[in-house]
């Protein structure tokens, strides 16, 4: 029960950091070798060596963060924001060493300029318990509308 609660709180925090644009704090949730992955194909098992919508280690996350913070990131000039709701949190596996695999569902609404878009799907988090709390080894994002044509693009992590 306690573990369920801790994991839920962590996932909520992850989403809240994205919605409040605290990019560095969000990146710091990842382990040094952590990976953020949005597969191009739901059947893919591993991020390495296949086409992906996102497949980013902390270095690439740093590039993305620095880009959106640059004053000449033109696509970021218009009003832009997101709102995540995370739910259906189910712990799949938990080892005595503090390695946890957890699945959840999310719904993200995005406003850009005057347009609203919706993205929804499931998260699979591989977490590792450390002295400073959980760290993400892998955040896999299987977006239900990942396969559809994108009306404009995704600028930041979902």
């Amino acid at each position: 029960m306690k573990q369920q609660h801790e994991v839920e709180q962590f996932l909520y925090r992850q989403a809240e950091l994205l919605d409040s644009k605290r990019w560095q704090d969000w990146i710091d949730l990842f382990a040094p070798d952590g990976v953020y992955w949005m597969p191009a194909d739901p059947s893919h098992k591993h991020w390495d060596g296949v086409p992906s919508i996102f497949a980013e280690d902390r270095n690439l996350m740093d590039v993305r963060m620095k880009r959106v913070l640059h004053p000449d990131a033109w696509s970021q000039r218009p009003m832009w924001g997101t709102n995540h709701v995370v739910s259906n949190v189910v712990i799949q596996k938990a080892s005595p060493k503090g390695e946890i695999e957890v699945r959840s569902r999310f719904h993200m609404m995005e406003l850009r300029r005057d347009d609203v878009r919706h993205f929804a799907g499931s998260y699979t988090h591989h977490l590792k318990k450390t002295r400073d709390g959980f760290r993400i080894k892998l955040q896999r994002v299987d977006m239900t509308n990942a396969q559809a044509a994108y009306d404009y693009v995704l600028q930041v992590w979902v």
Binding site: A40, G49, N59, K66, H70, W74, Y150, Y152
Partner: protein
């Protein structure tokens, strides 16, 4: 009516400027589809997309929904995605395998892979004494007027007349030659993933941007700077950053004045080439190992010739942008006057070591995925461009940069030395546009 507003379409295009209606007028858009996209050779896909009999992919040519399908005997046909009976769309999925024949989901008419009528339920009793049957070509699925492929890349034209594919492509064939020659086996294979991104702007705005050498250091400064910073940090920590950082940081490290050092080459039918700038022949162990496989396949001299081809982008007007050294292509499918779909693919070099594929993959993911670090800012500008053109704030779009300094040579137009940012490619595209639209 268009004729009342614009009596003479050819007056919309001058050598160094274009009327804004060319981008925003829905009636001009319809005419473009009729006189350009539904006439000329349009890229359908790569042969390796449909390896087995019955494999098909849907593809939009102008306003026409088409199917590219592999027949039992191996031949590829391009058909209208339409049942001749009541007009039902034949294949509702974007791609798949149709089995031994097409079967309409409405009344079960069946067709061979080349579109010929195969059967109609109770054909004898239902159609005896009528004009309908296997001998009537109107009972078969309609085929594209012409289908040809070049080194595995399949094109179709919906018009009987016009140049053959090789003649149409002309010098732009280098896009496919460069890509295939870089493979030790002499051919490429599709990676079965298509990223599809919709732009809220006219299709020509995207094409004109592809060889616009002035825009990268303005539009992509944010990503170039960010990648350069991280590249330096990684170098400091580990001595060497992956090549993918160089691909991104080049947008900032190649400063605005240096873009004039490159060259564009402009050809008939609106095709254009931008010479390379990324330096994709580094001396790392992966590249050295790859070059050895090329030497084994081609010999030393031929390998040097292949690797000396130095192009960044080839634009095949009116609908294909190819980056051969990174084995990527973007097919442009106009959806409406202000909506354009890009279909983005990449390829494996057959016979090349895995790290060379990884190089192409990194570029595909970082630059061309729907979470692109590059195109987000392009698309924002395309939208703004289209918005501005829709206003009455001005009548013309200017393509005057380095106008008057183009060098005509053997039917092609080269930009003069140190004029890489010339708007010659846009002038060339609009010249072809005006010729097509004259009709």
């Amino acid at each position: 009516m268009l004729q009342e507003r614009i009596a003479d379409l050819s007056k919309c295009v001058e050598p160094d400027r274009v009327r804004r209606e060319v981008y925003t007028d829905p009636e001009i858009f319809e005419l473009e589809m009729q006189r350009i996209h539904e006439q000329v050779w349009i890229y359908c896909g790569h042969e390796s997309q449909v390896p087995k009999p019955g494999d098909y992919y849907t593809v939009q040519i102008g306003r026409q929904p088409m199917l590219m399908v592999r027949g039992a005997e191996g031949r590829i046909s391009v058909l209208y995605n339409r049942c001749p009976h009541r007009g039902n769309m034949m294949c509702g999925d974007r791609h798949g395998n149709t089995g031994e024949f097409f079967r309409c989901s409405y009344h079960a008419w069946t067709f061979q892979h080349d579109g010929r009528l195969r059967s109609i339920p109770m054909m004898e009793s239902g159609y005896a004494g009528t004009r309908y049957g296997r001998d009537n070509p109107d009972c078969s699925m309609k085929r594209a007027a012409r289908v040809e492929s070049y080194r595995g890349f399949v094109f179709a034209s919906l018009a009987q007349g016009g140049p053959a594919l090789a003649e149409f492509l002309g010098a732009s064939r280098v896009a496919f030659d460069d890509m295939c020659d870089r493979a030790p086996a002499g051919e490429v294979e599709i990676v079965p993933n298509c990223f599809r991104v919709i732009q809220h702007s006219n299709w020509k705005i995207f094409l004109e941007n592809q060889l616009d050498a002035l825009h990268p250091s303005v539009v992509h400064q944010s990503t170039g700077r960010a990648a350069h910073e991280v590249e330096k940090q990684i170098e400091k920590r580990t001595g060497k950053a992956p090549l993918s950082y160089h691909m991104l940081s080049a947008f900032a490290t190649v400063t605005i004045d240096k873009w004039d050092n490159f060259q564009t080459l402009n050809y008939p039918y609106g095709h254009c080439i931008l010479t390379g700038y990324m330096g994709l022949r580094p001396k790392d162990p992966d590249t050295v190992a790859y070059e050895k496989t090329l030497i084994k396949a081609y010999g030393k001299q031929r390998t040097e010739e292949i690797l000396a081809v130095n192009i960044h982008h080839v634009l095949i007007y009116p609908g294909l942008s190819v980056q051969s050294p990174l084995q990527q292509l973007r097919a442009v499918r106009p959806l409406g006057v202000d909506r354009t779909l890009t279909e983005i693919w990449h390829f494996r070099l057959k016979g090349a070591p895995e790290p060379i594929y990884r190089r192409s993959l990194a570029y595909y993911n970082l630059v061309n995925s729907p979470a692109t670090l590059i195109n987000a800012d392009d698309l924002e500008n395309f939208w703004k461009c289209h918005q501005g053109l829709a206003s009455d704030g001005g009548d013309w779009v200017s393509f005057g940069r380095h106008h008057g300094h183009d060098i005509e040579k053997d039917g092609a137009v080269e930009t003069a030395p140190n004029c890489g940012t010339s708007e010659a490619p846009m002038r060339n595209q609009m010249k072809a546009w005006a010729q097509y639209m004259r009709a």
